[in-house]
Symmetry: C2
Subunit: 176 residues, 2 copies
């Protein structure tokens, strides 16, 4: 089952760190790729590409113009779209159903301004707590629940750098 | 059992959004307070205070000078300190033990530059995946695991704003 992330409305510079964190969380927690709208940011794209080259896997970042047509096409193609929002249904009530459906998942995550039209265009509006916090936090817990923690031991193919977990200190294995 | 977060080395402006997200995740996922070092940032402190006034609870943010003396005092007082780092032991292997101990928890989360000395000063170095991603993602999944998902339905006392979860759209109840 493919899992892609849709980041809506990236703003150059202003959202830099948050969007980078969001993309890295998407990769680390087992999503296949990120699609983003808003201003194109080659700096972030390069950063994520370098991380993937060093740390492995085949994670991809793609910039597109319209989130709306992406959402529509995804659903027309048989996939389902989950929008993470503090106003949605509690994740603990709906994750079982979302997990059980084998439809490919597009997980939409807004930034500062998400157009109100999105609520009706998606299959699910899901809240990771109904409190204001962070799209980075929401996405990480959502993926962690979707994959039931299996993502924590995911191995990344062709990694040049691999961490050997330690109780104290740092140990990184370099492969050439 | 008290759970506090220790954010090390905040940099004014540069870390603004990330630190704000981190503090909001700490609050939303059930921590009692945040202690932070680095540059004091009254803007963020005010922002978190306003959120707590509107959305309830008794979450606190405190700036301190030395993370080292805080870590030492916490342990001398019988509490345990958990440092979140990609180099640490996998969370899935250690969270059971951490959860089972009733010692008060201080969860240390670094920023760009965490001094190497921290690894030996804490009880646990814990990795939420051994991949580079985000301290915001790491903290949210750590707290979610620590509280076993119960934090998702936590209610916040004296909230002026309460969201009524909806499958489509937004609904906020205002209390006066």
């Amino acid at each position: 089952m493919e899992v892609a992330i849709l980041r809506i409305g990236h703003r150059y510079i202003r959202d830099g760190r948050t969007t980078t964190h969001l993309f890295l969380v998407a990769r680390a927690f087992g999503a296949d790729r990120v699609i983003y709208t808003g201003q194109r940011d080659k700096g972030i794209e390069g950063e994520i590409r370098e991380i993937t080259e060093s740390w492995g896997g085949s994670f991809k970042v793609v910039h597109i113009e319209s989130w709306e047509s992406t959402v529509k096409k995804w659903r027309e193609g048989g996939g389902e779209v989950i929008h993470l929002t503090m106003y949605g249904l509690p994740i603990q009530d709906v994750i079982g159903k979302i997990r059980a459906s084998m439809r490919e998942k597009l997980v939409a995550v807004g930034g500062a301004k998400v157009p109100g039209s999105i609520y009706k265009l998606v299959d699910w509006n899901v809240a990771v707590t109904s409190q204001p916090h962070s799209e980075v936090g929401a996405l990480s817990v959502f993926l962690h629940e979707l994959f039931e923690g299996k993502e924590l031991s995911k191995s990344f193919q062709n990694a040049k750098l691999v961490i050997m977990p330690q109780s104290k200190g740092k140990k990184v294995m370099k492969k050439s």
